[in-house]
Structures are given as structure tokens and as C-alpha cells.
Symmetry: C2
Subunit: 206 residues, 2 copies
């Protein structure tokens, strides 16, 4: 399926399509159209058809897309037809919020490791998770063969954590720390920083 290189921007839209399809499915819908999907995700029907057709013929002109079938295909393409283990580093408010978030499992993820360097937090439980000391991070991530990590430490510590993660097989990092991190080639980083999103919008406020 990766015989041709698909632009990263298209890959980035697939999770939005999948999210909308899952909601349509929850509502009991069986088929959908690129028009309807477009309304759900705020992307044009033509763009959606073009994006999806990169991966094969998943719909029929006139009859639209079978929701269950297209969802399955998108899950396969995005490799979330399985459950990925995720490690969280930094168990402050954000780390806690993410660890408790119930919405990950049906989207392909479960938090299985949690780390903090605060002795008062180490050993505490969050659901089934026990917070471990950050000094154990590299060994524990390697032992569990975890490939995805979320960094939720203060900005000053984020690069040091990223440097430690570089010793493991983690190849995808979701960084909640409000700072850009440098990672080895082949490791992907995505950022979540609400203040950045807000500042983008205040520009337009009166």
C-alpha cells in the first residue's frame, strides 16, 4: 500500500475521516457520502474523495461509502486496527488528564506506562497504572517494547526526556510541553499546546 508516497497532509486528514465515520456508525448509519462526511469534518467532498482514492476504490459512485468497510480500511491504513501501548512521562495535571482519558481505547491506544520524577508521585496508582520513577523509564519502555510516548513534563525538562526516549524504540512522540524538541531522524513529533492555538485566534479578535 505504500508503493507510492502519499503526502503527509493527506495522512493527517484520515484520522478526521475515521473519527466522523465512527460517530456515524455509533448512530447506526450504514452508508455515507463524501458530501455528508464533508459536513462532519469541514472538508470539501471533492477533497475527501481524492484523499480516500489514494488508497484504493473504497466507495461506489452513486451509492457512496459503506461506513463499516471504510472505517476498517482506514483503521488498517492508519494501523489502529490494533491497540498501541503508550507511555506518559510527567504525571502533573495534563499527564493525569491524559491517563484518565477514556476515549483512547476505541481509537487504538492504551496508556500502559506512566513516569514521574517526584518521589511523592512514584508508586501511586491511576486506575490500573502505577507511576514509576523516571529513572526507570528507558528500561521499562524497552522491556515493554513501547513505541509511542507522550511528554507532559515542564518545558525545561522536555528535551532531556526526548533524549532519554531516543535510547528506546519510541518513534512517535506527542509533546504537551510548550517547547520544540529535537529528536533523531525517523522519530515523529506532534505538539499539543493550547496557548498556541488560543494566540492564533486572538489575532482575529476585536
Amino acid at each position: 500500500m505504500k508503493s507510492k508516497e502519499i503526502p503527509d497532509i493527506i495522512i493527517g486528514r484520515l484520522p478526521l475521516y475515521l473519527r466522523a465515520l465512527q460517530r456515524l456508525e455509533d448512530r447506526g448509519a450504514v452508508v455515507t457520502s463524501s458530501q455528508e462526511l464533508g459536513e462532519w469534518v469541514g472538508i470539501s467532498a471533492a477533497q475527501i474523495r481524492k484523499d480516500i482514492s489514494q488508497f484504493g476504490e473504497f466507495g461506489k459512485q452513486g451509492t457512496g461509502y459503506n461506513i463499516k468497510f471504510l472505517s476498517e480500511k482506514l483503521r488498517e491504513i492508519l494501523k489502529v486496527d490494533r491497540i498501541w501501548d503508550v507511555a506518559i512521562i510527567g504525571m502533573g495535571d495534563i499527564g493525569h488528564g491524559v491517563a484518565n482519558y477514556q476515549g483512547f481505547l476505541d481509537r487504538g491506544f492504551q496508556v500502559t506506562l506512566a513516569f514521574d520524577n517526584n518521589p511523592e508521585k512514584v508508586g501511586k496508582k491511576i486506575g490500573n497504572l502505577t507511576i514509576q520513577d523516571t529513572s526507570e523509564m528507558v528500561a521499562a519502555i524497552k522491556a515493554a517494547d513501547v513505541k509511542i510516548a507522550m511528554i507532559a513534563v515542564p518545558a525545561d525538562y522536555a528535551q532531556a526526556v526526548a533524549d532519554e526516549l531516543a535510547k528506546t524504540d519510541v518513534h512517535a512522540i506527542l509533546n504537551y510541553a510548550p517547547i520544540c524538541i529535537n529528536v533523531p531522524e525517523g522519530v515523529r513529533v506532534q505538539y499539543i499546546d493550547p496557548a498556541t492555538h488560543l494566540q492564533w485566534m486572538t489575532y482575529y479578535l476585536d
Copy 2:
């Protein structure tokens, strides 16, 4: 300053520059270059110079940018040279995490209103905030003239909250609910959905 229309994608990069400048300033740096800034934000020096030059002559060839001066200018442009009040709707784990987040204030934001429809949460305090009933939301937001809201309710309720917010003067919404929302023209929405970010990266994992 808005005599010409600046592309939205450029506006979206300014908060990243500002964030890096604030960190450089925290470290005691006085001047920086587009090269150095580029290393901090992962954007080319040429792009940074081009972006910033859209707004005026804020640096000198050879001597670079005065960090304090450029920060102030970017704060003015992004209108975060003031503190914006923010309302949070939905005080689950995410709402709590965001309400407790200490990093907003020095970036232009403070959470001043919090709402939930769970009677057990209404009246509870989070720091100086008292959680109010969602039924009071429209009146309270109007009375306080709040223009920014964060939606942190479950996906099934997000559109209803957005519809209520349309009755207020809120023109910027940060939506943590994993669903696209429809808003009136003139209202901006940004999305934070960690699962979407993660699924974007799993495509590239082996």
C-alpha cells in the same frame, strides 16, 4: 497593521516564534537571529524572516532581532499584550487539567469561568474558580463579556454547547471534544484531539 491581508498560516506560526522568544528571554538572552530562532521552532530562517517582515522591520541585517522588542511586537500583533478571560465548559479530567494549567497567564490567558451540568460538580472550587451550572453559561459569559471558550464536554454534547455559545460574544473556541462543530460565521474554532495526532503518527510506525 491589517491594511493587507496576512495569510492565516503565517499568523499560526507567530505563536511558535513568540514561545521560543519567551524561552530565550527567560534564559537571559538579549538578541537572537532567524537562524537561532529557526533551530528552536524547526522552521527555516528564511521563512521566519519572511513571516516577520510581513509586519514591519523588526530586525537588522547582521545584528539580528532584539528579543524583548520582537516579543513585544508579536504580543501586540497577536493581541496577547493583555490578559484574555476564558470560559471552560465541561469540568471532567480535561477541563480540570486546563483549569489548573499554570502556563496560560504569561501567555495572555486566564480561566475565569467554569461550567458543568453535573450537580455534584456545580459549586465546587478549583483554585479561585467556582464551577457554575451550564444553564447559567450564556448569561454568565455575556455578563463577563468573555470572548474565548474551551469546550471540554463529551462529543455528544459539544454541538449543543457551541449552539449556546453562539448566543454570546464568544468568537474563539478551543474544542477538546473529539468532534467537528459548526459555528456561526466570524467564530473561529481550533481543535485539540490527542488521538487524532497519535493516529497520524501510527501510519508511519512499523
